[in-house]
Amino acid sequence: MSEEIILELVDLKKHYPVLGGVLRREVNTVKALDGISLAIQKGECLGLVGESGCGKTTTGKAIVRLHPPSSGHIFFHPKGQENPVDIAALSPRQLKGKNLRHKLQMVFQDPTTSMNPRMLVKNIVAEPIQEQEKLSPKELEARVVELLTLVGLNRDHLFRYPHEFSGGQRQRIAVARAIATHPEVLVLDEPTSALDVSVQAQILNLLHRLRKKLNLTYLFVTHHLLVVKYISDRIAVMYLGKVVELADTETLFEQTLHPYTWALLSGIPSTEIDAPKARILLEGDVPSPLDPPAGCRFHTRCPFALDLCSEAEPPLLATGENHQVACHRSHETRSLFHSYTKEMPPAAR
């Protein structure tokens, strides 16, 4: 993996105003994204994990500029350009004018809604190409067929409507559309969560292959830690609009430091029937991003919370090479997990 950075998020925030009253004044804000800083390296796959409402999709959509961030910077280092561009400050028109629009693409969660039901597959895949360059109908068709072959479909599928395909095939078409314009960064927003397991495996393998072949950089947004472990080089765990832990995939799984990451990891129902289970059951639900708890946002559900946790917000600090965590007790969490598992009544294991 090269150490070259392709995208750098600096203190990115996205607040949605809540309007109220007759005059539609802002009465509150939903802090969907509350200051996150990440650096994505060229050619890597960064996994972004968290539960619903944690801001992972908002991050993805901010990177492809589907909605403008409230504040902060997104520095993009396009291929062959010396200086980074702050795409957070650009309008959609400027983005297109600087020829950057097509370099940041996205694959959506649900392939049934991400394609116009009244367009043929050929036109769906051809649309971004036509926007990019003028091609004769023949060349265009050849390009579309080439793309379809790349994602495991063929010429027979050109003249069909999306509803004639299965979910997995539809997601392949969506991937073909996303890579049609040779993007550099691909945001994958839960690309497999609407699919069955066997199809999920197909799509994951396809995405993995494409990344190597086309030299893409992925931001893989998902709630499923095992999926992200399979495909990602590094993982960032988010909770209520903040990154709580960031590490290499192996490190995150072997050296988990944040209690929330541990809860997520142990909460996944596993098919490994004989594996020992050290489950940590969190109480309650994710608090509302309208009114996030003071201090560490996780302290309301954390089994190891101290008084300090409800007062001061822990910064995201490096604890080792390629490992950052935002927890006041990060130095002792390993032993805390250990004793927690031991104390647990056997029935709950």
Binding site: V64, L66, P92, L95, K96, R101, H102, L104, Q105, M106, F108, Q109, D110, T113, S114, M115, N116, P117, R118, M119, L120, E127, P128, E131, F159, R160, Y161, H163, E164, F165, S166, Q169, A174, R177, T181
Partner: protein
């Protein structure tokens, strides 16, 4: 649902066949389209079915004499004559054309204004949306009759003025319907994907929004084709619409106003003066309503699965 293609052929043709199947699965659609084709046939063949007496003004109903008492159907006047000795058969045949003229004009103009404003307002939102919707609210408060009377007083009596008045109030429906559809579509993933490609707003609206938002409008338009004719007939009946002698169903009913009930000993004596044009209106409206119903069932998103 699945990938195996059951019926071969070009996909657009398959899609069309499926749509036709869904529409005609409904028996009321068969009746509705049957009636509609009949009316279309009559309207197209009007010059042959009832050759106009005055070539320059075919919509003027011919009349022999000025007697106010209607005459019963006879060999000469197939459906009899109405008050003023206007030939009912001629009026009914050419009145079909008038009905289509009213419906197509009003729905066409109102639909065009409504859809274009509604799409812009729904897609862009913001202050334009706010101002337009408040303006629509104002239009909603305008009573049709008052507007029609104002226009008639200002520009004189005539079918054209009534059609303009109708179009001026009817578009408010279309704005609301299409706007709500666009609002639903605007945040759909496929529209966002189109934005990611860098498509211009006009292209997004033309390719992605309109084709998916237009169906409720089509349903409403078909219903409106009928109801506009009824309203225009009503205007003619109260004396705001077509001038005397114009081949218009509503105007013909208006002519027969004094003969709805015959003399005391034979109340049904002049039935043909009211029943024949009245039936035409009813069947015309019924045809469009049945079609509208069938379209609504066929385009019901809940049934859009196979």
């Amino acid at each position: 649902m699945n990938t195996v293609i059951v019926n071969a052929g070009h996909p657009r043709w398959r899609e069309f066949k499926f749509m036709v199947y869904r529409i005609f699965r409904n028996p009321s659609a068969v009746i509705g389209f049957g009636l509609l084709f009949f009316f279309v046939g009559v309207a197209l063949a009007a010059p042959y079915l009832a050759p106009p007496k005055y070539a320059h003004a075919p919509y003027q109903m011919p009349h022999q004499g000025f007697s106010p008492t209607p005459k019963a159907p006879s060999a000469q006047n197939l459906f009899g004559t109405t008050s003023g000795q206007y030939d009912i058969y001629y009026g009914v045949v050419w009145g079909t054309r008038t009905a289509f003229k009213i419906g197509l004009f009003v729905v066409g103009i109102a639909g065009f204004i409504g859809v274009s404003l509604g799409v812009i307002s729904g897609y862009y939102g913001g202050w334009f949306d706010e101002i337009l919707m408040r303006f629509v609210d104002i239009v909603w408060s305008v009573p049709l009759l008052v507007l029609a009377m104002t226009i008639v007083v200002a520009f004189g009596r005539g079918l054209e003025n009534i059609m303009i008045a109708l179009a001026l109030v009817e578009w408010r429906w279309y704005v609301r319907v299409i706007r709500s559809e666009v609002l639903k579509l605007r945040d759909q993933d496929f529209v966002q994907a189109a934005r990611l490609m860098g498509l211009s707003d006009i292209k997004i609206i033309r390719r992605h929004i309109l084709p998916n938002a237009i169906y409720p409008v089509l349903i409403m338009a078909s219903m409106d084709m009928g109801s506009m004719v009824i309203t225009a007939s009503f205007m003619s009946f109260v004396g705001l619409g077509a001038p005397k002698g114009y081949a218009d169903w509503g105007q013909m009913v208006a002519l027969a106003r004094n003969y709805i009930v015959g003399p005391p000993d034979d109340p049904m004596r002049f039935w043909y003066t009211v029943v024949i044009p009245g039936t035409c209106i009813i069947l015309f409206v019924l045809a469009w309503n049945l079609i509208g119903d069938a379209l609504r069932d066929a385009f019901d998103p809940k049934l859009r699965r196979r």
